[in-house]
Subunit: 154 residues, 2 copies
Amino acid sequence: MQANADTMMMPLCSIFRRFLKRKGLKFTTERAVILDSVLRKDGIFEAEELCEELKDAGHSASKATVYRTLKHLLESGIIQEVLLDSTRSHYQIAFGRKPTGHLMCVETHQVIEFPTEELNALMRKICKEHGYEPLSHRFVIHGMSPAARKVEEA
Amino acid sequence: MQANADTMMMPLCSIFRRFLKRKGLKFTTERAVILDSVLRKDGIFEAEELCEELKDAGHSASKATVYRTLKHLLESGIIQEVLLDSTRSHYQIAFGRKPTGHLMCVETHQVIEFPTEELNALMRKICKEHGYEPLSHRFVIHGMSPAARKVEEA
DNA sequence: CTTGCTGCAAAAGTTTTGCACACGT
DNA sequence: ACGTGTGCAAAACTTTTGCAGCAAG
């Protein structure tokens, strides 16, 4: 469903390096390590999660640097934001990803991903109506999972 | 497009009172004032915005109470969260509202609302596939507004 | 070398919470 | 009266920023 790290690692790393060069920024050890961690991700991840992993792996990359690098990864189009929660930021790799929506349980916060190719046409239609240039879309469904419903009934 | 305060005020106030009674909670002056402010809203609003308005209107309703009341309004189904930004919460009145999506400019943060009735069927389909009970959905498009594109080209 | 980058710790912004007192029911 | 609600200020949490030293191009 998702291309794995091996196939994505090299091209995305190049894309990031080109992005940095174009902006007059530098490809540092820390940025390499952070990108590497990000590319190992298979779904949605958070900033704090990356910080933990890097610390556990013995890599020096401070919280500040992780946040600063995530901004660049966003701007370069390598990752994109997924708004699931209004107090924490969630991200996912954008490259090579088919558009997906998220079904989230209001009780357990379990998140299920599903494809939403059919929404591209809707996005383009709405954008055209307002003179916007379409960039991306998100479709999130809130519902109650079977597990949560069982608890509710009890 | 949106029912105005006069027509909604009474029924929604009753709904909220019934909700509170059912939960063993009280309908206080502060909750009445906050609900009143919320019902005057015509679109998306934020917690801080409500706090300001209440202070300006000379009403005593602390920030803490506003946040606590918003939780109850959410739980009662009178308002719903609109995720546009991962650092601030946005809300809108849920009752009597046709499902809408939001088109947001990545540069100017202008937000345009559009109807999305056609997505109800998709929501139900996805929920059925996963045994979920559908509650609500959100569709957000990120794009670049005509105004922002003009700046970009310059 | 020059310019940008990092880590730290402090700051900032939003939301939550503990506590003593006040208020609905 | 009882149990809940309120205001205040402090705490909690995520994210941002200033600064002095460090490193990439």
